[in-house]
Symmetry: C2
Subunit: 265 residues, 2 copies
Amino acid sequence: MRNFSRGPQHLAINQATTKGWSLEQAIEGYARHGVRGIAVWRDKLAELGLTRAASMLKAHDMTVTGLCRAGVLPPPDNAGWPAAAIGARCVIMVAGGLAPGSKDLAGAHSAARDGLAELLPHARAAKIALAIEPLHPMYAADRACVNTLAHANDLCDALGEGIGVAVDVYHTWWDPNLEREIARAGKRRLLAFHVCDWLVPTTDLLFDRGMPGDGVIDIPKIRGWMEAAGYDGFAEVEVFSANNWWRRPPDEVVRICIERHRTVV
Amino acid sequence: MRNFSRGPQHLAINQATTKGWSLEQAIEGYARHGVRGIAVWRDKLAELGLTRAASMLKAHDMTVTGLCRAGVLPPPDNAGWPAAAIGARCVIMVAGGLAPGSKDLAGAHSAARDGLAELLPHARAAKIALAIEPLHPMYAADRACVNTLAHANDLCDALGEGIGVAVDVYHTWWDPNLEREIARAGKRRLLAFHVCDWLVPTTDLLFDRGMPGDGVIDIPKIRGWMEAAGYDGFAEVEVFSANNWWRRPPDEVVRICIERHRTVV
């Protein structure tokens, strides 16, 4: 397993972790602390502008670990491929939940599969990898009906080349099949690795994620499974935290991300 | 599939749904409305006393669909077998989460299996069926590390006779393998069927369950899978709802349970 204690060379930060910063501030801020990976959100990217963002990322030698997030719909010509312009390693795909007013979970599963199948040829043509991110089952109704890595792997099996998975410990840590499914995904499909922590108690379903080390997830164990399967990319800290981390100065948050990356990831 | 529209003959109510009532009030209240099944909680049972509870349940011809809840520990001689005294169809077993301060999920899985294995011979001797209830993955850390019906079925495979499962739609509805795993469990292992609903949004991880019909779960579809597998027991309404149902008069709650049982379960 790679030794992370020496420094942040394998650390990426998802810019949602430093919510107070614009994309410009995040690129400069992360670079100032020696962080070389960033996950970018589409709204922040649009705010800065594609050309300026691409140029700033290049100037700071920053790897874009992912572009967040694309739903399975709307169709590809509306979405465009800003991911290519900023060199993102993948586009994070969230499957979508139940249709409004619907209780048809099987229908949602089909819609996710069909939407990905429609998108994939365009992504392949643009040389952009799609990463299905299974979300925690507590988001099945309203955000994503793909809730296990097994399901995401099944979709990859069905859809063929050009699509892989993003493994987020927050969404998947509880799964007794996680080690097996990470091995099944294998190096080619393991496109991203997101870390934060599950707090006990968790007081909000959306915005109460913990900083790595503050919860109950054995992150190094899961990283070991990822690396045993061949993953050699960044570990991306992604913390949504309305009442704690989002209230702190972003520079402090970055410092703590670096410290935790060295010690508990 | 059985026709529930005629009346409450297959309806049970988990007494936690009418939190304001003692066990005595719940037995009398449910019977007054024609409800013939009840799930009993141990603290409420202790309050009323075993002898008096058994006699009241008998006088009202009330079936006890389950005794809630037993953890895997403490050992059986502390727990006693009040379930036998009140004729409960099963004891609901919740696997327990991580040990305090631990991040060892695999260890928690082993502890659950070993605890059940230790308990099972005592349960068999007392002719009490144990029902493993997989809880939603959002409870993996602090309540139960068995979070899928597949995992519960694996435990049943490993442990042999005398142990089955309780299927609660709230905990399992999101699972793409639910139909398959209900079929796998089969009539012999399907010991209880709990219904409530998943609200969108859900504002609390513990106490914001919905009354059947108020959320997104296709309850009749899941009941159909249960019955196709041979389940012919009660459908037990179990709603934990701090800000809605627990604030209403229990008689009103029972009336609405009956109405929803006829129309949306």
